[in-house]
C-alpha cells in the first residue's frame, strides 16, 4: 500500500496557507480575517508536525513549536477580538473597510 507521504501533506498545508492568505486579503469581516489567520497558522503547524514526523523523528522541536503556536494564536485572537469589540463600539460595524480614518 502506498502510505501518505510528506509531499501530499505539504500540498495540503501549502493549500491551507494560500487559502488563509486569500481569506485574509479578501474578507471584509474582521472575525473571518482572524479565522483565516488561524488557517495560516494551522498550515504552519501541519508543516512542523509533518517535517518532525517524516524527516527528523528523533527530536521533538516541531511538536513543541506547534504547541507554542497554538497557545500564542489563542492569545493573539483574544487581544484582537478585544480590540475589534472596542472598535465596534465606535463604528457600529466590523467591516474592516470602515477603519480607514488615517491615511496618506
Amino acid at each position: 500500500m502506498n502510505a501518505i507521504g510528506l509531499p501530499q501533506i505539504l500540498v495540503v498545508s501549502t493549500a491551507l496557507f494560500f487559502i488563509g492568505v486569500y481569506g485574509f486579503l479578501t474578507r471584509r469581516n474582521m472575525i473571518s480575517m482572524l479565522m483565516s489567520i488561524e488557517l495560516i497558522l494551522n498550515s504552519v503547524n501541519i508543516n512542523f508536525i509533518a517535517f518532525n514526523k517524516y524527516l527528523f523523528p528523533g527530536k521533538l522541536d516541531g511538536l513543541f513549536f506547534t504547541v507554542i503556536i497554538i497557545t500564542i494564536a489563542a492569545s493573539e485572537a483574544a487581544v484582537a477580538i478585544a480590540i475589534i469589540i472596542n472598535l465596534y463600539r465606535k463604528y457600529k460595524s466590523i467591516d474592516v473597510e470602515d477603519a480607514n480614518s488615517m491615511r496618506f
Binding site: V21, F24, L25, T26, M33, V96, S101, M102, R103, F104
Partner: protein
C-alpha cells in the same frame, strides 16, 4: 642727488597732500588745502627743475655722447615668478625728466589758478586732494621703470580723471561723462594689459631696460617672440599693437576719442591739466618709452601708429571747425595735436637724422602742453566770466577782459604755428620729419595744420570779437571782467612760455638714441605751412570778425557734410547703439534670463518633480489594512521570484 632717493619726493609729496586733504580736508583744512597743494607742488617743481639741470648740465653725457638712463631707485613690489616682478622704481632719462618738468609745472599753474577759479566751492578740499592724486599718479607714470608700474599708474590717472570729471557729481551729464571716460579707456587698457602679458611672457621680464634690451638685440628672447605668431602676425607685433591700443585709449586717438570731448564736463582747470597737457599725452609717452622696440624690431606696429595718428588729427580738426562749445573745440584740437605727435613718432626712425620725428614729437608734446594749458585756462577765465561754454553766448570780450584776450591770442598763434611762437618750431620739425619719410602723411599733415589755424581763430574771433552779447554781463557793463590775480598770474606765465619755449634747442637734450641731434632751420621749407596757417587765419577773420551770416550760408551750402561734422561723424551714436542695443540686449539680457529660468529653473524643477512625485504616490497609503497586506504579500512574492528564479539562474 640724481642717485639719491630724494627724487622720490616729486611724486610722494602730492601723494602726502592727497592723503592729508582727502582724509581730513573736509573738516580741518578746508581752505588751507589749496595753499598746501600749491606749496607741495612748488617744492616738487623746484626739485624736478634742479634734477633736470643736474642731469643735463652737471652730469652731462657719458663717454659715447649719450645721456645714460639712471635708475634712481627700485623696489620689488610684487613678485610673480623668478625674474618677473612689478618694481616700483624711478628712472631718469631725457624724456622722463622732460615729463616731470612739464607735469609739475602745469600742475603748479593749475593749482594756483584753481585757488581763484574754485573759490567758494564747498568741496574745495576734495578738489585739491583729487588734483594731488592725479599729479602723484601722473608723476609715477612718467618715472616708471617697469611696464607694469606704468600700467598701475595708468589706471590711477584714469580713476583720478574719472573723479575729477565727475567732480560735480550731482550733474547727471558729468557722471555720464566720467563713466564714459573711464569705461572707454578701460576698454583700451584691456589691450594694454594683454600686450603686457604677451611681452612679459616672451621677454621674461617687466623691466623696461631689460625688455628693450632683450627685444632689440638678437638673442633667444628675440627669436622666440618673432618666431611665435598668431593669425600670421608675430607675437611681438601683437604685443606692441595691443600696448599701443592702450596708449591710443588714453590719448584719445580714433576710435577711442569719444570720451575726450565729454570729459570737458569737469572743472576747466582740470581739463587744462589732465585733458590737455599731461594725461592725454601718456599714450605718446608710452610709445616713446618703447620706441626702440617699435622702430628697431617691429616697423609694422610703427606704421599702425602713424596712420592712426594722422587720421585722428585730420578727423579731429574737421570736427573742431563746427563745434560751438569752446571747450569741445579745444578738446578736438588737443586730439588733433596729439595725432601730430603720434604720427611724428610713427614716421621717425631710430638714431641720428632719422630720429628727427621722435625728437619733434617730444618737442611738440612739450610746447603743446604750454599753449594748450594756456588756452584752457583762458577759456576757463572766459567761462568763469560768462557762465557759459557756448560761443553763441560770447563775443566782444576783448574790452572787458584784456589780459585773457592777449594771452589767448598768443596761444592761438602758437597752436596755429606762426613764428616765432612755440608751436611753430615743434610743428615745423614734425612736418619736416613727415616730409622726409612719408609724403602722403606730409600732405595730410600740412592740410590739417591749415585747418587748425582756421578753427582756432574761429574760436578766438567768436569769443573776443564778433558782436557783444550785452545781456550776458550787463550786471557789470564796461566793468572789468577779469578774474582774481590767482587766475591771471598763471595765464601770464604760460603766455611767456608759449612764446619762449620754442627757442629751446630741444635736440640737444632729447633724441631717439640719446645722442645730440642738431636741427637746422630751413626757411624755404617752413614757408608753405606758415602761408597755409595765415590763410586759415584770414578765412576765420573773414567769417567771424564781425557778426554776419556768411558762415551760416557756407554751412547751408555744405549741408550734409556740415551736419556730419557737427554730429562728430555719428561715432557716439554708433557706440551707443553697440553698447545699449547689442551688448545689453543680445548678451546681458539673455544671460540674466538664462540664469533665472534655466540654471535656477533646473534646481527648482527638481524640487517640483519630487513634490509632484510624492503627491502622485500618496494614494498607496490608502489606510486599508487589507491593501497593506496585499502590498506586503506582493513584496514578499516578488522578492521570492526575483531571488529564486532570476538570481539562481
Amino acid at each position: 642727488m640724481l642717485h639719491s632717493k630724494i627724487i622720490a619726493l616729486v611724486p610722494l609729496l602730492p601723494f602726502a597732500v592727497f592723503l592729508l586733504t582727502g582724509l581730513f580736508g573736509r573738516k580741518y583744512l578746508k581752505n588751507f588745502s589749496g595753499i598746501l597743494g600749491t606749496l607741495s607742488l612748488l617744492v616738487a617743481f623746484v626739485i624736478s627743475i634742479y634734477t633736470a639741470y643736474e642731469y643735463f648740465f652737471i652730469q652731462g653725457r657719458d663717454a659715447n655722447g649719450i645721456f645714460e638712463k639712471i635708475i634712481a631707485f627700485k623696489y620689488t613690489w610684487l613678485q610673480f615668478s623668478p625674474g618677473v616682478s612689478i618694481d616700483m622704481g624711478v628712472v631718469l632719462d631725457p624724456i622722463s625728466i622732460m615729463m616731470i618738468v612739464v607735469v609739475t609745472f602745469i600742475s603748479l599753474m593749475v593749482h594756483i589758478y584753481s585757488m581763484g577759479y574754485m573759490k567758494g566751492e564747498e568741496r574745495y578740499a576734495t578738489y585739491y586732494s583729487f588734483l594731488s592724486l592725479f599729479t602723484f599718479s601722473m608723476l609715477g607714470l612718467v618715472l616708471a621703470s617697469n611696464i607694469f608700474q606704468i600700467y598701475i599708474f595708468w589706471e590711477l590717472v584714469g580713476v583720478s580723471s574719472f573723479l575729477l570729471i565727475g567732480f560735480y557729481y550731482d550733474k547727471p551729464s558729468a557722471v555720464a561723462a566720467a563713466k564714459k571716460a573711464f569705461i572707454v579707456t578701460r576698454f583700451a587698457d584691456l589691450g594694454f594689459l594683454i600686450g603686457i602679458l604677451i611681452l612679459a611672457f616672451y621677454s621674461g621680464t617687466l623691466d623696461f631696460g631689460t625688455l628693450i634690451e632683450r627685444f632689440t638685440t638678437h638673442n633667444e628672447y628675440y627669436s622666440a617672440v618673432t618666431a611665435a605668431s598668431f593669425m600670421g602676425v608675430s607675437a611681438l607685433t601683437w604685443g606692441l599693437v595691443l600696448v599701443f591700443i592702450g596708449g591710443a585709449g588714453k590719448s584719445a586717438m580714433f576710435p577711442f576719442h569719444v570720451w575726450l570731448p565729454d570729459a570737458m564736463e569737469g572743472p576747466t582747470p582740470v581739463s587744462a591739466l589732465i585733458h590737455a597737457a599731461t594725461m592725454v599725452v601718456a599714450g605718446v609717452y608710452l610709445v616713446a618709452r618703447l620706441f626702440p622696440v617699435f622702430s628697431l624690431s617691429c616697423p609694422p606696429a610703427l606704421e599702425v601708429v602713424t596712420y592712426v595718428g594722422i587720421f585722428s588729427s585730420l578727423f579731429a580738426a574737421l570736427i573742431a571747425c563746427t563745434q560751438t562749445d569752446i571747450k569741445r573745440v579745444l578738446a578736438y584740437s588737443t586730439m588733433s595735436q596729439i595725432g601730430f605727435m603720434m604720427f611724428a613718432l610713427g614716421v621717425s626712425g631710430y638714431g641720428g637724422e632719422h630720429g628727427l620725428g621722435y625728437m619733434a614729437s617730444m618737442f611738440h608734446l612739450f610746447t603743446h602742453a604750454m599753449f594748450k594749458a594756456l588756452l584752457f585756462l583762458g577759456a576757463g577765465a572766459v567761462i568763469h566770466f560768462v557762465h557759459s561754454n557756448d560761443m553763441k553766448d560770447m563775443g566782444g570780450l576783448r574790452k572787458s577782459m584784456p589780459i585773457t584776450h592777449i594771452t589767448f591770442l598768443i596761444a592761438c598763434l602758437a597752436i596755429a604755428g606762426i613764428p616765432p611762437f612755440a608751436g611753430f618750431f615743434s610743428k615745423e620739425e614734425i612736418l619736416a620729419a613727415a616730409y622726409a619719410n612719408n609724403k602722403p602723411v606730409f600732405v595730410v599733415a600740412i592740410i590739417t595744420a591749415g585747418i587748425t589755424a582756421f578753427y582756432m581763430f574761429r574760436l578766438y574771433f567768436n569769443i573776443f570779437w564778433n558782436k557783444e552779447k550785452i545781456e550776458n554781463h550787463s550786471h557789470e557793463e564796461h566793468s572789468h571782467g577779469e578774474g582774481p590775480m590767482t587766475m591771471l598770474i598763471p595765464l601770464s606765465i604760460l603766455a611767456i612760455c608759449a612764446i619762449g619755449v620754442g627757442f629751446i634747442p630741444f635736440g640737444k637734450f632729447v633724441s631717439s638714441d640719446g645722442k645730440e641731434l642738431i636741427t637746422e632751420f630751413n626757411p624755404m621749407f617752413s614757408l608753405g605751412p606758415v602761408v597755409l596757417a595765415l590763410s586759415g587765419i584770414l578765412l576765420a577773420l573773414f567769417f567771424y570778425k564781425k557778426a554776419n551770416g556768411k558762415s551760416d550760408k557756407v554751412a547751408e551750402a555744405l549741408g550734409g557734410i556740415y551736419r556730419a561734422t557737427y554730429k562728430k561723424f555719428y561715432i557716439d551714436e554708433i557706440y551707443l547703439f553697440i553698447t545699449k542695443k547689442v551688448v545689453f540686449n543680445l548678451v546681458g539680457r539673455p544671460a540674466a534670463w538664462i540664469d533665472k529660468n534655466i540654471v535656477d529653473g533646473v534646481i527648482n524643477l527638481s524640487a517640483t518633480v519630487a513634490d509632484n512625485f510624492s503627491e502622485a504616490i500618496r494614494p498607496i497609503q490608502s489606510g486599508k489594512v487589507q491593501q497593506y497586506a496585499i502590498y506586503f504579500f506582493i513584496g514578499a512574492l516578488s522578492f521570492a521570484v526575483l531571488f529564486i528564479y532570476f538570481w539562481k539562474n
